[in-house]
């Protein structure tokens, strides 16, 4: 009898122990995020101290005289991301409508499968392809219109980004469009609406916030994308003046200079750019999350 009691007590102890362990690992996830933030702040402290808020709006990036301002990279990231988003959104939306509403399942299912596989191709491979096929194409185009024929630059980077985020944005939007209840669509058809009228006045309004969330998530990806952009943007740390210019984004300047930075302030300035990138993407992702929660509530 005593033996059994002891056993039960032991089991209760194990139970508590296991629960603690699982909880600790859950808490670890929170600590990791906090740790990431504070590590970035700590490592960039020399730069924060040296340049203060000036870091955000000065345009000089001079590793030799140790004068650092991040504005060219902020601008580079914003231009490439939003240009990519502007190029990808119409196609992504059309693709989502096509796969979710127009195409018969026999076509839509295999195509969706292929698109999801494409979304999984590593970004360095998109970069390789862009470097050897897209860059000559863009150069040819630039010569035709009389722009400086670098081939590399902001425009090429935006184009690769657009191609990369397209499968992702499309599959999110398609999932949302598929969730539109059949009754609503049938109601519209029974009133004599054409297919387009049903899509325009029933499907799209119903799926609006979900599609918006998909676009914001795609933006989050574009902002942080490193390799493909680094390979085709030209790596020039000055303020870009046109979309044909060679430039740098926040991610690409880190990728290019981090291992070469010998001065502490230079390294800290690069980490500070990482910190800014972290803050921007967290905000963008939280916005997308809020939009999704709002959708679910409705």
């Amino acid at each position: 009898m005593r033996n059994l009691e002891e056993k039960l007590k032991n089991q209760a102890r194990y139970d508590a122990l296991f629960r603690r362990l699982a909880q600790a690992m859950g808490v670890l996830v929170i600590l990791l995020v906090i740790g990431v933030f504070f590590t970035l702040v700590k490592e960039s402290w020399p730069a924060i101290k040296a340049f203060g808020l000036r870091f955000l709006w000065t345009t000089t990036w001079d590793p030799i005289n140790l004068e650092f301002g991040a504005l060219p990279f902020l601008v580079g990231t914003l231009i490439t991301s939003f240009l990519a988003l502007a190029m990808a959104t119409p196609f992504a939306l059309a693709g989502a409508i096509f796969l979710g509403e127009l195409a018969p399942p026999k076509v839509a299912n295999p195509v969706s499968f292929v698109i999801e596989l494409l979304a999984g191709i590593p970004s360095v491979i998109y970069g390789l392809w862009a470097l050897f096929y897209l860059v000559p194409l863009v150069r040819y185009f630039q010569m035709k219109i009389g722009a400086p024929p670098y081939g590399l630059g902001l425009f090429t980077a935006s184009l690769v980004l657009a191609i990369m985020i397209l499968p992702y944005a499309m599959s999110v939007a398609r999932d949302v469009i598929r969730l539109v209840p059949q009754d609503l669509k049938e109601a519209a058809y029974s009133l004599g609406a054409t297919r387009w009228e049903t899509i325009r006045h029933v499907v799209l309004p119903y799926a609006r916030s979900g599609i918006l969330a998909g676009i914001v998530l795609a933006l989050g990806r574009a902002l942080g994308e490193t390799m493909a952009v680094t390979m085709v943007i030209g790596n020039r740390s000055a303020m870009p003046h046109s979309i044909w210019d060679l430039a740098n984004t926040m991610a690409s300047v880190i990728a290019n200079e981090f291992t070469e930075a010998t001065e502490d302030v230079h390294l800290a300035a690069l980490v500070e750019i990482g910190l800014l990138l972290f803050i921007i993407t967290v905000v963008v992702n939280l916005i997308a999350r809020l939009v999704i929660i709002k959708t679910r509530v409705r």
Partner: protein, 293 residues
């Protein structure tokens, strides 16, 4: 109405216009939807075309050679490096993630702590990979004083954890409560119920989550740039700098040598086969779960 001649409806012009508009817009949508397929298929086609020509047995078995040398060298060190770095990342990331997933599904379905953990997992998943690389540099490379495969694995584990946590939670939530109650009714303590009943029931789903995460991190380059760093030689020591497929692709693509470009395409093809293979296996597993229900 549908079978009637539209000209006989009360507003013939308007009806015709609506039909026309419908047809025009649907055509435009279809064309817009099919256009992006062109670059995407071009990528696959050119990858196959350029990659296949540089594949050979030597390519898999040899170490890198200087550009211009006949035979050209291979990617043996990068293949081994990728396996070691990703394997270590799985060893670091998976136990943490499964336990955290168990906590979310079994102990804290509701409540502030769980909600915070979920938000943090989402935040961590959204952190750009290059930033993860900086953090792994600060956590591992700086204290050690030199680049190492281990620091690369830490970076990849950080990217893997949120994915596995969320899929584990979702899969374990689907395990019916009846199973838990049956085990508890037999006097099995809860921790054993979780480990012997709940987790095995959801195992297929959990492994799908792990495979998806591995497919995602296997192709990551940015977090390895200043952690694993790359290495010309074959090494099995995780405390040394180590090569990986994505690093080789990046370094060779940016080099000025045509030999190396060719090898970059070959390495890309190998990487794509690995990643797509993992993706397809995980999808088949996921479909199997859906079929069982």
């Amino acid at each position: 109405m549908r079978n009637q001649d539209p000209r006989k409806t009360p507003f013939p012009a308007r009806e015709n216009w609506r039909r026309m508009k419908n047809r025009i817009i649907l055509t435009v949508i279809t064309v817009l939807a099919l256009l992006p397929a062109i670059p995407l298929f071009l990528i696959l086609f050119q990858l196959l075309k350029e990659g296949l020509s540089s594949l050979s047995l030597d390519f898999f078995l040899h170490l890198p050679a200087p550009p211009g040398e006949p035979g050209g060298g291979g990617i043996a060190n990068a293949l081994v490096g990728t396996l070691i770095i990703v394997g270590l990342a799985v060893l670091i990331g998976v136990p943490v993630s499964i336990l955290a997933g168990i906590y979310l599904s079994e102990y804290g379905r509701h409540g502030k702590l769980s909600e915070t953990i979920r938000v943090c997992a989402d935040v961590l998943q959204g952190v750009p990979s290059i930033v993860i690389g900086i953090v792994a540099y600060a956590w591992v490379v700086k204290p050690m004083g030199h680049f190492s495969a281990l620091s690369g694995s830490v970076a990849l584990a950080l990217m893997m954890i949120p994915v596995v946590v969320r899929t584990t939670e979702e899969v374990l939530r689907l395990v019916p409560d009846i199973l838990r109650e049956a085990a508890l009714a037999l006097g099995v303590p809860y921790w054993r119920t979780v480990l012997k009943v709940v987790l095995p029931t959801g195992m297929v789903g959990v492994s799908t989550g792990i495979l998806i995460a591995v497919a995602r991190i296997a192709g990551e380059t940015a977090p390895l740039l200043f952690t694993a760093f790359g290495n010309q030689f074959l090494t099995l020591n995780p405390l040394e700098p180590m090569s990986a497929l994505p690093l080789v692709i990046f370094n060779y693509a940016m080099s000025p040598y045509e030999d190396w470009w060719r090898q970059a395409w070959g390495a890309s093809l190998v990487l794509v086969f690995m990643v797509l293979g993992l993706n397809i296996v995980s999808r088949i597993l996921a479909r199997k779960i859906a079929g069982e229900k």
